[in-house]
Symmetry: C2
Subunit: 557 residues, 2 copies
């Protein structure tokens, strides 16, 4: 009789539970054991901030499965409060410390899905009870109890403005707490372009959040009423509670002790089928290294990828053909009050200095502009010299995520500016636009890259005002009493054809750097000036992006 395979899975949340469930579907007769160090399996960790914010009112909604439900549904042997303390690769066994003491378990195949753990920088006081975390059900319960004890209106400092930090801020404001958000970087959500992050800064401040950027917590001490929090700029705050969400790192001590290959930063190295340096051990989820579409290698902490890596590891463990891991785009999204920020693929931070690329900014509404409720999405794309899309980011109301999902699909397919221009996307007035913002991104990128329509960037502004004539082609009502660059020449687009000579004289041999409100009319102006032999460049993104950029430049002073 053929022996049944014995599969052990370490970690019972996203990647681990996806692996175990998939393995069962592939092999009804395998013996499958899942070890979870904590008391809960398969819980919705991405949902924790929303239970804190009372949006998900029923805590049990976060607990998707129990060991019992997994036993009856998938015949899985799930052991909670069970920590695997070592792996013996020669014997193919693991040592487990569980509720009934220490024991060992053998395996044919072993899948590591230990996840990530919170980064705790060496800040004095960061380990005090007044400082909470929000990565596990237990931490959430503790934080909620502390919040209730302090009562609404209390002052909470959130350290770290990544995804969880931002979601927690929103939750706390919803519940009526006073919130200070402290971030060491000069912006929230550091993966976001700085000019797009400005939109989030405005949204946070408009909801009363005390935003402290470019400063870090230096010391925390407990007081009778809460904490004393000293920041790197010398400020001392006195919050009643602190939530630390300072990022995470792969949890890989077990893999390291077993001699598996790790990256310098401690991520488990796997091949494109999740196989570690030991062919009988696979790894998936937050603990593993991935290769990005821009060539970088790093761990990444996203639930969707974790689930699919778990599935892939199970395929591999069960000898089933699988879909290899493609270069990772890192598509991610966060909602901050009424704004959604979404990213996919490479950003200017990873491209700058590494490869030549063009930044294209467009602004447009989520549906037909004449249909009520139209609000602007700010969409930025990064394109290779051959027109290929490398990355995209969007900030705006509902619909920013839709554009990024489409563009993530386009990047995966290797699409370029012309392909985006030709995509056929849903249009009816309440739902899209006849020329969707994604199409507009493609049109605009094509104009810039293929049609010899050079652009300038807000980063160039300090230099441009010294060397170029700035031409503003907005209409008077858009300028009067509103944002205007000093020393710019104002000629509304409809008058430009009659005033070419005026431009030529004002330029006096200098290049003309044009802008309008969103970037469209300045492109039309560029076409007109080019036809009259005037050297010029267009500001992609118009006064909207220009103001965002100026706010960034100002904050850097």
């Amino acid at each position: 009789m053929e022996m049944n395979m014995k599969l052990l899975v370490i970690g019972g949340v996203a990647a681990g539970m996806s692996a175990a469930a998939r393995a069962r579907r592939l092999d009804e007769h395998a013996e499958i054991v899942v070890f979870e160090a904590g008391p809960y399996v398969s819980f919705a960790n991405c949902g924790l901030p929303y239970h804190v914010g009372d949006e998900i009112t029923d805590r049990s909604e976060l607990l998707l499965h129990t060991p019992a439900s997994l036993k009856s549904r998938a015949n899985l042997d799930v052991r909670v409060n069970s920590t695997v303390t070592s792996i013996n690769r020669t014997e193919k066994t693991v040592t487990v410390t569980g509720p009934e003491g220490e024991y060992s378990e053998s395996y044919d195949k072993l899948i590591l899905a230990p996840g990530a753990e919170a980064i705790m920088p060496p800040v004095p006081g960061l380990d005090l009870p007044v400082v909470h975390g929000l990565r596990t059900i237990d931490q959430m319960d503790g934080f909620l109890a502390a919040l209730a004890e302090k009562g609404a209106g209390a002052h909470v400092a959130v350290l770290g403005a990544g995804f969880i930090g931002l979601e927690a801020v929103e939750a706390l404001v919803h519940k009526g707490y006073q919130v200070t958000l402290v971030e060491a970087a000069p912006q929230v959500m550091p993966i976001l372009e700085p000019d797009l992050a400005v939109v989030l800064h405005r949204e946070l401040r408009s909801h009363g959040v005390d935003l402290r950027l470019g400063v870090r917590a230096e010391e925390i001490s407990e007081t009778s009423n809460g904490a004393k929090l000293r920041l790197s700029d010398g400020t001392v705050l006195e919050p009643q509670l602190i939530l630390a969400s300072l990022g995470v790192r792969p949890r890989s001590e077990l893999a390291a002790a077993a001699g598996l290959q790790l990256s310098k930063r401690g991520a488990i190295i796997v091949d494109e089928n999740q196989v570690t340096s030991d062919p009988d051990i696979l790894a998936a989820g937050d603990a593993v290294q991935v290769r990005f579409n821009d060539g970088r290698e790093a761990p990444i902490f996203l639930a969707g990828l974790a689930n699919r890596q778990g599935r892939r590891a199970a395929d591999q463990a069960c000898g089933h053909a699988t879909v290899s891991q493609k270069p990772v785009l890192g598509t991610a999204v966060v909602r901050v009050f009424n704004v959604v920020a979404a990213v996919t693929g490479a950003s200017s931070r990873v491209l700058e200095g590494v490869t030549e690329y063009t930044t294209v900014r467009v602004h447009g509404s989520q549906h037909a502009g004449y249909y009520p409720g139209a609000k602007q999405i700010h969409l930025t794309g990064f394109f290779a010299p051959d027109g290929r899309l490398l990355g995209a980011q969007a900030v705006g109301p509902d619909g920013a995520d839709k554009r990024i999902d489409v563009l993530a699909t386009a990047i995966r397919a290797g699409m370029g500016a012309d392909d985006l221009a030709e995509l056929e996307l849903c249009y009816s007035p309440p739902i899209g636009s006849a020329k969707d913002l994604v199409n507009m991104l493609g049109f605009t990128a094509g104009n810039i890259i293929f049609d010899n329509c050079p652009t300038w960037d807000w980063r160039d502004l300090p230099e441009i005002v010294e060397t170029d004539l700035v031409l503003d082609v907005r209409n008077l009502p858009e300028v009067e009493g509103k944002f205007k660059l000093p020393q710019s020449l104002l000629i509304p687009l409809p008058q430009l054809r009659d005033r070419i000579e005026e431009v030529r004289e004002a330029a006096a041999g200098r290049r003309v750097s044009i802008h309008c409100q969103s970037g469209l009319r300045s492109y039309l102006a560029q076409r007109i000036l080019q036809a009259h032999g005037v050297e010029c460049q267009n500001f992609s993104g118009g006064a909207i992006s220009l103001q965002f950029g100026l706010e960034v430049l100002e904050s850097q002073k």
Copy 2:
């Protein structure tokens, strides 16, 4: 001195105005004249139903441009109320009848963008004043005046349940009219899969719409208070007003008279760069024939395609490199009250009998199921035997359009089931799912196509109940007092492993056709039974799709 090009454009709405504006951007010195037969140019014809429904309250929002604004902005010579009556291809001139009489204009290049016109079947009385249309601003004004005269509460019959008919119905219900919707096909939105159309039927009826499917208007006569409308089933209705939206056809008499090549159904034949059978005449928009990704050739009536064809025609006219027309997917969307229905690519209607394909149905919420407000999207995909996606349709709340936009991009890229499974899409609890519905479609298609997990369809049901054992693996609370197929064996999935022999005995050599609620647990059951050597197939889409399908079968009796 080089002569400036002279470009004439016939038609001043979507395709025509896109062509003229693009031509100006490419050639500042060209002479560009646009002839529009009606009094308005560049109006938002897709917005008309929304002005009728008072969602777009300001009528001027629909009028995007005027001849004066187009003159000042783009130096276009736009002539309204000007009908081109003939083309002399030898002389390269057109004859125009305008406000100042008849004259002729020469051209170097001519772009035809005449659009489409309403189909008027030979129904007696369809030309009576009580019957309105909704394709032009004038028609809208006339319909609004008639509605106002009759007053809210009046009974309006809408003939034709295509996009405009459905949007008009919604608008009329919003305004408080009693609406009867008459459609000759057995369903609304005939491009939609019949089981998905059931969702729209329920939505329409739940808003009080009197839905008459499978019947056509046979005779209309005027009465003192409105109209008498006789239907093909003998029913006589007495609506106070009638709106006819019975579809459109290419407006191509001018092209025909000029001897340009037309399709049998009267669409202008163009190549992939919009060139007609005369190299100096281009055509774009609703009047031209396109090739679909499934190989069919036909005209199509979509604003987004019209705009891009206009742009392409201008590129070609100006000698500018252009992006050739790709095979058309026909992505389209309609909102009907709280339901959005969206389609892209091939449907079962065009695939059936032509090629082998697999239908895959999944149901899932627009964002994390545990986040409040989760509602089901019903998503159907059609896959080739090699796993390539051929078409997709979705019906549901917000988010159906997002999935179809992603899938339209995937089809254009030639993606297959495995690619969909690996797409990285935005996920946070209020915005998506860690395994998005698009990923689930890919997983499910892969299981069916590559992993030997055969499926059955609701169309097979009459046969299945005769030949197979139907196994229902839902839990008791999902079945008791709810939908249940007669003669099916009920074994909740968690009990299946212990009751395999019971299944085998009940089957008595017959194949087992499994279903659950959504199709996931029945797939797990299929895996278990297969592992025990039981021949079985899974109903993709579960009881949800089964009920939709039964409603279709019932209506066909």
